[in-house]
C-alpha cells in the first residue's frame, strides 16, 4: 500500500478462519491501521484481499474526529445506522452500559449524553455498539484501549471476550499489549512495514520477532497462570 509515494506496507500474506481471533501487533507507524483500512476497502492496494461471501464487517475505529463540543448525542449517533430503538437499546446494553450502576449514566441517560461528554472507555463502548448494530460477523478493532485507564481497559477486553464466545464472529484487533495478545488471540500477525511473522502467539511472538518489531532487547516474561496469583 502506498501513500503519497511512500511504501507503507508490503509482503503481507496471511489467512484467517471463521470465528478466529487475530491480534495485530507492531510498533507505531508499522502500518497496522493502514492494513485495516485496506481490509475495509478504504484505501487502494495491490494484491488480493478475499472475504467469505457472506462476510459483514464491523469497524471500531481508534477514535472519532469529534471535538468535545459537538452537539451529537449517543442516540443520534447510533441512529445514523439504525432506526429501530429496541435494537439501539439492545446494542447499548450488550456493551455493558447497564451492568455497573455508574452514577451518571445508565442506559437511558447514556443515550441522551453528548459524545464529547463521554469518557474514553465509554466512547469506545459506544463505538463498539455502533459496529454491532449491523450484526456483523467480522469485527475490526483498531487499538481498542488507546488512551483508556486500566479499569476501562479491563471492561473493553471483557467485552471482547464476551463477543468472542458468540458463534461465528471473527475478530481482528490491533494492540500494543503482549499479555492481552497471548490471552485472547489464537493467531498473531506481527507487522513492521511488512509481515514479520504470523501464527499462534507462542510461535509468532518470540525474542527474534520482538526485536524485529521493537528494536532493542525486549524481554518476554511468562507470568504465572492467573489462578496461582489469586492465592495470595
Amino acid at each position: 500500500m502506498v501513500f503519497d509515494n511512500h511504501l507503507i506496507l508490503k509482503n503481507i500474506d496471511f489467512q484467517i478462519e471463521r470465528d478466529d481471533t487475530l491480534a495485530i501487533i507492531g510498533p507505531n507507524g508499522a502500518g497496522k491501521s493502514v492494513l485495516f483500512r485496506a481490509l475495509l476497502g478504504l484505501i487502494p492496494y495491490t494484491g488480493v484481499i478475499e472475504w467469505a461471501k457472506d462476510a459483514k464487517i464491523g469497524y471500531v475505529p481508534q477514535k472519532l474526529a469529534v471535538g468535545k463540543d459537538l452537539p451529537l448525542t449517543v442516540k443520534e449517533f447510533l441512529r445514523f445506522k439504525e432506526k429501530n430503538n429496541a435494537k439501539i437499546l439492545e446494542a447499548i446494553r450488550s456493551v455493558g452500559f447497564l451492568e455497573k450502576s455508574e452514577h451518571l449514566h445508565n442506559d437511558k441517560r447514556v443515550l441522551g449524553t453528548r459524545l464529547g461528554d463521554l469518557s474514553g472507555g465509554e466512547l469506545q463502548r459506544v463505538l463498539i455498539a455502533y459496529a454491532l448494530l449491523a450484526d456483523p460477523n467480522v469485527l475490526l478493532f483498531d487499538e481498542p484501549t488507546a488512551g483508556i485507564d486500566v479499569s476501562g481497559e479491563e471492561t473493553i477486553y471483557d467485552l471482547m471476550h464476551k463477543l468472542q464466545k458468540k458463534a461465528d464472529l471473527t475478530i481482528l484487533f490491533i494492540s500494543h499489549e503482549l499479555q492481552v495478545v497471548n490471552h485472547y488471540a489464537n493467531n498473531v500477525l506481527c507487522l513492521n512495514k511488512e509481515e514479520i511473522s504470523f501464527g499462534p502467539p507462542m510461535k509468532a511472538v518470540n525474542k527474534e520477532t520482538l526485536s524485529k518489531l521493537y528494536g532493542e532487547e525486549v524481554h518476554l516474561h511468562k507470568h504465572l497462570e492467573r489462578h496461582n496469583l489469586n492465592e495470595h
Binding site: R37, L40, L42, Y59, L70, P71, L72, T73, F80, K81
Partner: protein, 241 residues
C-alpha cells in the same frame, strides 16, 4: 433566507469551514459585476461565479488532507478586488451591502424556490454529511460516497450565498451562514436542537434586522448581521458547559 442559511450553516460550523463560507461570498462580486454589465439578473452571475469557486474548493479539499488556506485566502481577496474594479459604480454599494427594498417579485419567487430546494436536499443528505464529519472512516466503510456528499453540500452553499447576496451584499452574506450556527452550537444539547436553533436564529436575526433597518433607515445587511452577533454574544454568556 434566514432559515436556509441557518440550516446550511449548522453543517459548515461542524465541518470547521466557517471562514470558507465567509470568503465564498466575496467571490460573488465579480460574478455580479459581469452579470450587471451584460444586463442579466445579478443573482445568476453570482451563482455562476460561486459554482466555479465551489468546484475549486471541493477539488482542493479532496486532493489534500488540509485545506490550503493561504491559497484560498489569496484567491478570494483577488476575486473581491477584480469584482470591485469591474462593478459599475452606481451599483457598487448595493452589490457590496445588499438592498432589501429593491427586491422584485421575480427575485422573491426565485429565492423562495431556492430556499425550499436547499432545505429538501440538505435534509436528504444530512445524515451522511454528519457521519462524514464525525468519522470519515466510518462513513466510507458504510459505502457512503463522502466526496459526492461534500460536493452537493458545497453547491448548496453556493446557492444560498447567491440567493443571499441580493439582501445582504457580498461582504456580509457569509456572516449569515456562520453566525446563527455558531450561536446555536453554544446552546444546543443535541444535533436535532442544533439544527432547529440554527434555523430559528437565522430567521430571527433576519426578521429583527430588517425591521430595525426599516425603522432607522439603515442598510439591511449590516443590521441583520449585528442582530445575529448580538444573539451570539448572549449565547456565549449562557453557554452549555
Amino acid at each position: 433566507m434566514g432559515a436556509s442559511s441557518g440550516f446550511l450553516g449548522s453543517f459548515m460550523v461542524l465541518k470547521r469551514m466557517s471562514l470558507v463560507g465567509d470568503a465564498l461570498s466575496h467571490v460573488a462580486l465579480p460574478g455580479i459585476a459581469l452579470a450587471l454589465t451584460f444586463g442579466i439578473n445579478p443573482m445568476f452571475g453570482a451563482l455562476a461565479a460561486l459554482i466555479l469557486a465551489t468546484l475549486g474548493i471541493w477539488y482542493l479539499g479532496e486532493r489534500s488532507e488540509v485545506y490550503p488556506e493561504a491559497l484560498v485566502g489569496v484567491f478570494f481577496t483577488a476575486s473581491l478586488s477584480i469584482g470591485l474594479l469591474l462593478t459599475p459604480e452606481p451599483e457598487l454599494l448595493e452589490a457590496l451591502f445588499g438592498n432589501i427594498d429593491k427586491i422584485g417579485l421575480m427575485d422573491g419567487i426565485l429565492t423562495l424556490f431556492g430556499s425550499i430546494l436547499i432545505f429538501v436536499v440538505t435534509a436528504a443528505i444530512s445524515k451522511k454529511l454528519l457521519l462524514g464529519v464525525v468519522s470519515e472512516d466510518l462513513a466510507k466503510s458504510q459505502k457512503i460516497n463522502i466526496a459526492k456528499v461534500n460536493l452537493i453540500y458545497l453547491l448548496l452553499v453556493a446557492l444560498v450565498v447567491a440567493l443571499g447576496v441580493k439582501f445582504l451584499g457580498t461582504l456580509l452574506t457569509g456572516a449569515m451562514v456562520i453566525i446563527p450556527a455558531a450561536t446555536a452550537k453554544n446552546l444546543a444539547k443535541s444535533i436535532k436542537s442544533f439544527h432547529y436553533l440554527s434555523v430559528g436564529l437565522g430567521v430571527t436575526s433576519s426578521v429583527v434586522g430588517i425591521v430595525l433597518a426599516n425603522n432607522f433607515g439603515i442598510s439591511s445587511g449590516p443590521a441583520v448581521v449585528l442582530v445575529s452577533v448580538g444573539l451570539f454574544i448572549f449565547s456565549f454568556i449562557f453557554r452549555q458547559k
